[in-house]
Symmetry: C2
Subunit: 202 residues, 2 copies
């Protein structure tokens, strides 16, 4: 029932391609993913990829769009289910960690794209994703301040940087441990410290 079909309509084939790249990124260095490797994973010839994408960067761009959509919608859902801003922040954090646990290659690809010196389309996608993420955090911070849950003197930008860095730190630890579940186990403890840093002095 899966992608075992030989002929697929263009749109489906593009979707399958994106999933293949996300899978591969979880298993190997994202910057070493070749078009040949992608095609092999899909049971396709390398040349066939270029029927559906004009070049390799277009594939990576599609992946980044996929990530932006899925991650932001998950986060929005997590935030929406919580009553208070602080609870929403924790829910958002754990939703992000869950997302990464399911797709360990995502944060590596993101960081890799950000590092590229040329201004490529996938790099721009990565940048805007993180900007949108930061703006969402800002709104929660403001809400938290007005309802008194968060420290009124909290620097929003610094708090956002630390929020994202917290996740990045967990990713690094799991890279060193070579174990993805390491991240989910430690996430609550790490967030507890972060929370202590931003909430109002009770």
């Amino acid at each position: 029932m899966n992608s075992s079909n030989k002929h697929l309509p263009a749109e489906e084939r593009r979707a399958v391609t994106v999933e293949a790249v996300v899978e591969l990124a979880g298993e190997q260095n994202p910057s070493e993913i070749t078009t040949a490797a992608i095609a092999k994973r899909m049971g396709l010839t390398q040349g066939a990829l270029f029927r559906h994408f004009p070049n390799k960067d277009a594939i990576l761009q599609a992946v980044m769009e996929w990530v932006a959509e899925r991650l932001m919608s998950r986060i929005e859902k997590a935030v929406h289910a919580e009553p208070s801003p602080l609870a929403a922040l924790e829910s958002m954090f754990m939703a992000h960690v869950d997302f990464i646990t399911e797709h360990p290659g995502i944060p590596r690809m993101l960081f890799g794209e950000l590092q590229r010196s040329e201004e490529t389309a996938p790099k721009r996608m990565a940048q805007t994703l993180i900007r949108r993420y930061g703006e969402r955090l800002n709104r929660l911070f403001e809400q938290g301040k007005t309802c008194g849950e968060l420290d009124g003197k909290l620097d929003n930008e610094a708090a956002a940087t630390l929020f994202i860095g917290t996740i990045q730190g967990l990713v690094m630890q799991s890279l060193i441990a070579g174990d993805v579940s390491h991240m989910r186990r430690n996430a609550p403890k790490v967030f507890a410290i972060y929370q202590r840093g931003i909430r109002s002095a009770s």
Copy 2:
């Protein structure tokens, strides 16, 4: 007076090579640094590099060793100059940020090495560096607890993960902003939140 000399003894040539790579990593994607680019930066032919290093990975390993030595010695110096564990943590943090500001390519190379799937020599160097870094943090955490500056119930591993992640978050922000000085400006604000998260309730 500098590396403008044509003929250099092997040891010096190796040192110059490492510095060239560190420079290049600050200007472009570290995973795209070629041996040709390194040689060009040094005003040397590509073949000459392989007189001093058996292969490319040996060059990268030498770079990681350079990083480990310089970073750890700087941090040790920063810690030593401070009276209390909490002040030492802040000094260590700022020393690390200064180091990265001077060599923006370092954190990118480190993260890039950690991502490699094969167990290469430079990857192992990166792993042990971060482990040593974590152990140093642990000692400071323990000291902080016994002298009452830090929360007695603080989870050391989580606090170390967050410390490293905090720096990684700053690196990401500076990558997006495309501006290294961004990091140094925001570092104190971000550390203030972190400090609030780990210190004992006064």
